[in-house]
Symmetry: D2
């Protein structure tokens, strides 16, 4: 038995990375690859990397093709998933959504940050949040429902929330962090995070040899991180852009709970390793060692380093992922694996190019 | 049955890429990974990409471990392979050498270009040249010998010769090229081609945002390309360095034989496609389309574009490879596959990251 | 006395580099900076590098402002210069054009390559070609006319023609090159050469970590190089794109005249140094040394290396420039300097950032 | 009158940038350029950017040459300045030191962080701290002493301290920041910040396409920033490395004083602009606008953005500089300008390349 999978929005960066992963997946078979803009063109026309490897072509959005899938991945902008998910679910198709439409549990928060109405609050209530190492319970329930024959909906975490939350959650959940304190996350992303649209910001000549902050205090991933970590209104999140294609590093500063004993770096590493003991795709580095995004590029893996600051009452944790891998397409596949009862890392065991 | 494989010099760039490929190979099992400099250290210490994926450690050069292999890959500097290959072959171990020691058929040419004596001319005479799409006969004979139980030796082509020869050979072998003319190949490589040694040349701050030519008229790949293409003394080859990690593009200018009819771009593409009809890892692009190294990065694939110049009597062919993939480690695995009777592209079907 | 200068099309890459150079020029004062798209916005809005350094704003194309200039630089697409130059010249304004409209001496060649009619063949006949080291006579005549009070027109060389011709001309003019042979120039450019327009090709994620050839046999700089070097129909020119902002390297392969004695590298370097003895912005490197584009980035300088191939009958010359500097804005200023009787390198003596 | 200047350690990255700036300085004349490693070689041998622009050669460290200077810049590792400054000062030579030796007011702090004895605590007590926008008083006193004929010593701020402190100081000095709170500064640097030494860390192939944190909680710039800002033991500083040559961005998170009224972004920008009203090289960007390092690359300028976080009690300020410009060589020249009574920005008015 293999499962039939479709990708909607396959011409975008997350979509085409999904295609790459699914073509090599041992249990999922890609049967529908849609792009309105590129309909009819072979994948290899737009992305020559596929030349010689597949004859698949982009198709127009064809509901019938999609409805014959076991699972459809929505790699579309927000609001588009709101429009498409309900119909697929009604026909019994499991939906793994990479957009922001089914991430924020409270539709009012969604509406405040995205400035559009949430048209499917009922589905939102049922959706599992897709960040497996931190929302295993939700995904397990979804897997159980799927096993009963129900179509399920997963709203996958965004890229910044993934790296930031993986770095922060073990300390917070262990009660080490001041419940009244402000968490500061400064994160840096490669340019694939800005998407495929050609703009001045993604122009090589403006992005190359440049570092910049953006969206200070206003980035839409803020409420999502706050939700995952349970720190509403207590996050200062600043994203940055750096001149590389893939990679996302989040440095998270967590104020120590004055009531908790000050941990050593060794203790923190031990705590984190225990937390991620069953997570095949997360590695906690040795004390004093810090992650490199290049070491996880092209993969669904995450590397984390953590220490306690020597003078200030602060835990510093750093998470590295590939924004298109663990931060998008890889994570979506990981969620699908779980929902369909496959090994969590099926099709995701590749190692980054060492150089 | 799986075959036991070893990598000597595994800490270098070609060596560690071999390790990455072999860890995912369906038929070869990596059992020995040697590095004198890093002996005893886990792979993941030097290359954190392997963290969580393998517990393998570098070992010191251990002859016994290597002798228990079915095949040993030598990813060592020239002269080191001369020293190591004979002993392995004597013990029945097939050797796939990535150095220059067994490439040049004429030991005198080797000695002239490398300025050291060739200490194993007998082995050289037996060695198969490893560029499968162009030296299939030699490799087939090696495979036959291997099938009879003999250990065989393959001297794999270098990175520039691979891209350049794949682009040039179909036209030359079809008799389209002036047998008295000079072939001009201008090739550009990413910095992994300069090796792992930290020097001023490989320093980020000197390589970044820079283009340069080097070794004009003196690069050691010159005689190798001339040998493959059968154009002794008729090659002007200029390598260049550009600011990227992986990727090698060779633009080859082939003077038309005045006696041959002038081909159209369509005819050339058809000729090339016919030439590579049985080559699963080589793609010839549509007329007017030119290869991008990013589309083959991290893979053993080659993309080729070709046309006839509209005014001058010249064929222009462009070949793109990953210098560490099809230009080194991937090609070595491809050669091993052939020698052991496996599908040529076993373990080599990965597609480049589309972005 | 300072001279009043205007830049039309100042928001583009060549235009804004002109602005940068002119703001620091000792004798030219920038009085008009036009951009239809950005009219009314301060330079610093679009290019924050100017913040704190100038209060200048882009203006709409205002004929009166421009007509009050002594010299106007046209940094516009081809055909736009055809439209604008005549009016300015009629009002006595000297025009330095960076577009292709006044480069090709033969309007029929222009029309064949650009597929539009040339509407000012009379002006074309008067225009001086702006590549000072090679067209000093034309520019000297223009300077003399200017000194008599006439407005003059300069059509500046393109970026690829500049690097390629500087590398090739001394050998060709010395009679060393086979008059029936084909010259092969393979050149690599940074992405600023592709212009400011945001396209898939200039998207960071497609240009980064990639090498590609383009326009093989069809690039519009081909007839311009042939004209400068006097080699009609005998040039095979292949441009390439590499992942850096600024920098252009042209490797030129010149077939030796069978009748000429074979020169040594030392002789060639001596010949080239003699040729460029009076050129303050061109450096010929020592034999065996090859230019780096980083060493001329941000400047109007050119570095050249040259040798004779050891086996093949070929001279190999390599020229490095900044495509926006010596290849565009710097060269335009150099031409204006000459026309107005200023030192050739006035405002152009800056040195590249050493790292 | 021009002043004679020398650079010790001119072959390093900060040293050679000093050479570039001083060669174009209107009032300082470079008369001694020392490098023990490159003594006797022309600048242009090691840094071809200087070819055609200067005939200067590196000299061995020659005390006599240096003693004839009015000012000597020490671009040497820490401890080397401790060894060299006293003798120069005794001979009446003003010393501008770029190392860490004269930055930390308390020798015990120096000894704790650098693990070497401070051998010149008396000089340290006299040294002016060189970050002109924040230590104008110290530099004014040094200028007055210099005007009286005394040799003076300036210990220039480091690169991270410069960007971080320029971003943080106006808010702190205005009393907006919680005096018991922890300041979090996450900063990202280009690779020139790691110095000229070729190591695995500065190897192109490890730095390219990679982001990493390093020295978390242990970087030696920590006490320097704490000293400048007057926040001992209250700084969490994490430096990061990104794949670009020049550029340093520091994002500083400043906890609001609970007793102070919450400022708006407009108020903060007004406060910052007032603070830097007399600083010709610092620009405070409009509210909602964030600095780009590319806009200050190659210059001594700094760009700053600032806002108050919408939900958390935090000011976020971002400073962008060129780590070799305002972060090292440019700042040293700026300090010398002040000490010698020149315009603060003499020789430092260049604008970054707009692309």
């Amino acid at each position: 038995m293999t499962l039939r999978a479709g990708v909607v929005g396959a011409a975008g960066f997350a979509g085409i990375e999904l295609v790459r992963l699914l073509l090599a997946h041992p249990e999922l078979t890609l049967t529908a690859v849609t792009s309105d803009a590129l309909a009819g063109r072979p994948l290899a026309d737009a992305y020559p990397a596929f030349r010689g490897a597949t004859d698949l072509a982009f198709s127009a959005h064809d509901q019938a093709d999609l409805e014959s899938c076991d699972v459809v991945f929505l790699a579309v902008p927000h609001t588009a998933a709101l429009a498409q998910a309900p119909g697929l679910l009604e026909r019994g198709v499991t939906v793994v959504d990479l957009s922001a439409d089914f991430r924020l549990k409270d539709p009012a928060v969604y509406e405040a940050w995205y400035q559009v109405p949430h048209t499917a609050p009922g589905l939102l209530a049922q959706a599992a949040f897709g960040l497996p190492e931190l929302t295993g319970g939700e995904l397990a329930r979804a897997a159980a429902a799927r096993a009963r024959g129900e179509a399920v909906l997963v709203g996958c975490a965004g890229c910044y929330p993934t790296a930031t939350s993986l770095a922060a959650a073990p300390a917070i959940r262990a009660g080490l962090v001041d419940p009244a304190g402000t968490v500061v996350a400064d994160a840096v992303s490669g340019v694939t995070g800005a998407g495929k649209k050609a703009t001045e910001r993604t122009h090589f000549c403006f992005a190359d040899e440049n570092l910049e902050a953006y969206g200070v205090g206003t980035h839409r991933h803020t409420p999502e991180i706050e939700q995952i970590l349970g720190i509403p209104g207590r996050l200062v999140f600043t994203p940055h852009l750096a001149p590389l294609n893939r990679g996302l590093l989040s440095t998270v500063n967590l104020p120590l709970d004055p009531a908790a004993p000050r941990p050593s770096a060794d203790e923190l590493v031990a705590l984190y390793r225990d937390f991620y003991a069953d997570a095949p795709l997360v590695e906690v580095l040795d004390p004093g060692t810090w992650p490199r995004t290049a070491s996880v590029a092209g993969t669904c893996r995450a590397h984390i380093g953590v220490t306690a600051h020597p003078t200030a009452p602060m835990i510093v944790a750093v998470g590295a992922i590939d924004n298109l891998g663990k931060g998008a397409a890889g994570q979506a596949v990981q969620c699908a694996n779980i929902v369909f009862g496959l090994p969590e890392d099926a099709g995701l065991t590749a190692v980054a190019q060492p150089v």
